[in-house]
């Protein structure tokens, strides 16, 4: 059993390193140009925020339309930590996550009494309140004019080098987020969270403190969304409350639903897909949204549960199948560590 665990860890670690090296090499040699490099980085940020939303919506079963609100709290608080308090980048990003987690805890309480549509409206209102507060807190946030001059990941002046460094930062955080969400879901507290989605009454009578785990899930989700927001701030170097309006939240819901509610790999696929499709459709100008909506309807018609449903693509299983075929069958896995990218 221990051997299995070590094998799993090594497979996943090497898979994430290999993916990174391949992407970085493609960027370095110019096969992926800077424009696409930027897009990949942005996709990474979308993946982080979408995974955080999937934790509440896909795994806990609580529809949230305020994820952009969480994101903006993370973005502004980390930007302020860097610009006003001159804290280092990593510290600021983590502060962004922690400040957002506090708000997640607060917004978690109303969710105990609200369900479904009512909760969605409440979280939507929350997102809008945050946006309006950001517009009016001009001294710190720059108000509607926006906040300029947020320090970047790297500022060497060499565009190629900068974009690779940007990409690496975001990539590391994407991997950390995937590991956090995956390990949480495949543990006993994670099963408690999923049981709330399945049947709240049954979960309660199985000895699970439903209120505690709902709030826990909201807090955790807010933390991750805050990290995503902080990366977003550093990535653009500029913040404006409009970036976090209601439709931004909807975008994340679209990614989660497209990928499959309750699927980590689905969210990753949909996150990358969404970012690219959004860019390709840019030449349609305003019709972009119409076409996007149509595409969404078509996908939902043919895959009503999203691309992956609640399934996962598991790298460990994949590798097992093709490299260690002789070891298959005999060993049952104690932990299902599921796929990374």
């Amino acid at each position: 059993m221990k051997k299995n665990r070590i094998f799993n860890t090594i497979t996943l670690l090497s898979a994430s390193v290999i993916v990174f090296i391949v992407l970085a090499a493609l960027l370095f040699t110019g096969i992926i140009d800077e424009y696409n490099g930027q897009l990949l980085t942005l996709a990474g940020i979308y993946i982080i925020v979408s995974l955080s939303l999937n934790l509440i919506t896909g795994f806990t079963g609580q529809l949230s339309l305020g994820q952009a609100g969480f994101m903006s709290i993370g973005a502004y608080s980390s930007a302020i930590a860097m610009m006003n308090f001159h804290l280092p980048l990593v510290v600021s990003i983590i502060i962004g996550g922690l400040v957002t987690a506090v708000f997640g805890l607060l917004i978690g309480f109303p969710t105990l009494r609200l369900r479904g549509d009512y909760l969605a409206i409440t979280t939507l209102g929350f997102g809008e309140i945050i946006r309006v507060i950001m517009v009016n807190l001009e001294t710190y946030t720059g108000g509607a004019a926006g906040l300029k001059g947020i320090p970047s990941f790297s500022d060497t002046g060499d565009f190629l080098k900068d974009s690779i460094i940007k990409f690496s930062w975001v990539y590391v955080f994407v991997i950390i987020t995937i590991v956090i969400v995956n390990n949480l879901i495949n543990s006993s507290p994670g099963r408690a969270i999923v049981s709330i989605r399945e049947d709240e009454i049954a979960a309660n009578s199985m000895g699970i403190n439903v209120s505690y785990y709902k709030i826990f899930s909201f807090t955790m989700s807010a933390f991750l969304a805050g990290i995503g927001g902080a990366l977003y701030a550093v990535y653009f170097g500029y913040l404006n409350p409009v970036m976090f309006w209601f439709l931004t939240s909807v975008n994340f819901v679209v990614i989660v639903v497209l990928g499959g509610m309750g699927s980590i790999t689905g969210t990753i696929l949909a996150g990358v897909g969404f970012t690219y499709i959004q860019e390709w459709l840019r030449f349609f100008k305003d019709f972009r949204l119409v076409i996007f909506g149509l595409a969404l309807i078509i996908v939902m018609l043919f895959w009503p549960r999203g691309l992956m449903g609640t399934n996962e693509f598991s790298i460990v299983k994949f590798v097992r199948k093709y490299i260690r075929k002789e070891h298959e069958g005999g060993s049952s896995k104690p932990s299902k560590i599921k796929g990374v990218k």
Partner: protein, 261 residues
């Protein structure tokens, strides 16, 4: 020595007196049946005993020690706290975690006894692996008793109806209860399945040292295994006694068949 006692509990919904002055003493190891016509308030009694509803008046006490007398009132506790104190239940309309595997359904019930926290789970510490191995093994042992061990990877919703009922009982047992409340365990089963279920219920009572209260409409099951039967009608207890006494009680016959029969 009683394990659980309901002392004159009543509940009123708006103007409707759903249950009035219900008394029940569950002795250790007893198997008691709760019967009554539709709408008599049987499930409401269950919901009060498990904390889903809190009674308008009266008290429910639970003996928390396995041997001695250490009664505590559970009337203010939430359902999950009552389960953690040792009262587990199943539901009339099956409430499994449908999209989860059979194994996960059972493992979830072990959750409140798990000693590692979320952080240890995320960091995959040794405590995580040890506990996971342990509860997985325990869950498999339980599934074996109910002959579900080959289906642990299947989704709960894909099981046949009878097995879903069995899985619900397995899941309830995983919370390590002292008192088990079964709400119509034989509903929808054919006579053969009902017969097997009867044997199974007697078996788990002895094996897990349980006290069982069950609601059932299938009289062959109730009369076959219950030592004592409580009959409810319009929220009031109309008869208490052994199966023979109950089957001859004129008030019970009247409640079921009406007057002039």
């Amino acid at each position: 020595m009683s394990v659980m006692e309901a002392k004159s509990i009543s509940i009123v919904f708006g103007g409707l007196k759903a249950v009035t002055n219900f008394d029940l003493k569950l002795g250790k190891g007893e198997l008691v049946g709760l019967i009554g016509p539709n709408g008599a308030g049987k499930t409401t009694v269950f919901n009060m005993l498990t904390g889903v509803y809190s009674p308008t008046s009266g008290d429910i006490v639970l003996n928390t020690s396995r041997e001695g007398h250490n009664y505590k009132s559970i009337i203010k506790l939430k359902p999950y706290q009552i389960t953690q104190s040792g009262v587990a239940r199943t539901f009339q309309n099956i409430r499994l975690f449908k999209d989860l595997s059979v194994l996960d359904n059972v493992r979830i019930a072990f959750h409140f006894n798990v000693k590692y926290n979320a952080l240890q789970g995320i960091l995959r510490t040794t405590a995580f692996y040890n506990e996971e191995d342990e509860i997985t093994e325990k869950a498999r042992d339980l599934l074996k008793i109910f002959n579900l061990q080959d289906k642990e990877k299947e989704l709960a919703k894909n099981l046949p109806y009878g097995e879903q009922r069995k899985l619900e009982i397995t899941r309830a047992l995983a919370t390590n209860p002292k008192v088990l409340l079964l709400d119509e365990p034989a509903a929808g089963m054919n006579p053969q399945e009902t017969h097997d279920l009867m044997n199974l219920i007697s078996f788990i009572r002895n094996k897990f040292d349980l006290t069982i209260l069950l609601i059932e409409h299938d009289m062959s099951l109730v009369m076959g295994i219950c030592e004592r039967i409580v009959v409810l009608d319009y929220g009031q207890t109309i008869a208490v006694g052994t199966p023979e006494q109950i089957s001859k009680d004129p008030k019970v016959i009247k409640a079921y068949l009406g007057e002039g029969v």
